[in-house]
């Protein structure tokens, strides 16, 4: 009976430890994804603004996620909507 209790305690402790580790990783992932603000300007060789240039990019949504590929539609400041495909 005592042996069974000890085994159960070990299993329970292992489970708790596992949850702590998983929780830690999840927190790490969250902390590495931050609100994005990216501001840019396009100029030609004479310093004149380049208007109506088409801008595209991949966006990595989730650092450390096993599957980093995600496609999402987001609202941008200087345009209406854009469909972004992400890489990896």
């Amino acid at each position: 009976m005592k042996i069974i209790c000890l085994r159960d305690k070990i299993i329970a402790a292992t489970a708790v430890l596992f949850l702590i580790v998983v929780s830690g990783i999840a927190q790490l992932r969250v902390s590495e994804n931050v609100p994005v603000g990216f501001y840019a300007k396009v100029l030609d060789q004479d310093g004149n603004p380049v208007t109506e240039a088409r801008v595209t990019f991949d966006f990595i949504m989730s650092y450390m996620a096993e599957n980093r590929t995600k496609t999402s539609e987001v609202v941008l400041q200087t345009c209406k909507r854009i469909l972004m495909g992400t890489s990896r």
Binding site: N33, M61, V74
Partner: protein
């Protein structure tokens, strides 16, 4: 997404880790090949948002491509100061000279810089000048010297085991062009490896768009 009337664009209102492989396209323009294409916001961030100080992307407004001629070479060169002669334009008389020197010739590899080197490039009857221009689509009018020397010794800031440099050139005929050169000065044992690639506008125009 498109740039606005001031050439601006912005990305806000989302959460994530990084922008990767940014691409900016407009007909008649070319994005700088030296433009930073990735920006990290999360861990190891290399970009801090600042609407008042936007990232500047440079584009070259093309004036029109012209037929360029040139040459390319890849091979081994001895780095004992001997002069190597080439032709900037394939099939034409030799007008490009490159001499490489490494001291000591045979060195012991260490963790840090372990030899001095000298790279001399000359255009016979013409001129050459190094450039770090973002675009090399328009050769400068002046500023050419018969030869350019790049010499680095251990302890020099920016020492690296070789040369990776672009130059503008002007031939004896007055034709403008560019040449990119890579010399692996550290190759052991010598001879070392040299690569170059040139583009010359035979019309006499300074336009080097390709």
């Amino acid at each position: 997404m498109q740039t606005d009337s001031d050439g601006n664009f912005a990305l806000t209102g989302i959460t994530g880790y990084a922008i990767d492989k940014i691409s900016i396209l407009k007909k008649g323009y070319e994005l700088s090949p030296k433009a930073q294409r990735s920006f990290v916001f999360g861990l190891k961030a290399d970009y801090k948002p600042n609407p008042g100080s936007p990232v500047i992307f440079k584009m070259w407004k093309m004036v029109g491509k012209e037929p360029l001629v040139g040459g390319a070479w890849q091979g081994k060169v001895f780095c004992d100061s001997r002069t190597n002669r080439f032709s900037l334009v394939s099939g034409s008389p030799a007008d490009l000279e490159i001499a490489c020197t490494r001291t000591p010739l045979n060195y012991e590899r260490t963790n840090g810089p372990s030899f001095t080197y000298k790279f001399v490039i000359s255009v016979i009857g013409g001129g050459v000048q190094p450039t770090a221009d973002e675009f090399t689509h328009l050769a400068p009018n002046g500023g050419y010297s018969p030869s350019v020397t790049i010499e680095r010794k251990p302890g020099d800031p920016g020492w690296r085991a070789g040369v990776d440099q672009e130059f503008y050139v002007k031939t004896a005929e007055g034709h403008y062009g560019r040449i990119s050169v890579t010399w692996d000065a550290g190759h052991r044992p010598q001879p070392t490896v040299l690569l170059w690639d040139s583009s010359i506008n035979p019309s006499g125009s300074r336009n080097l768009e390709r």
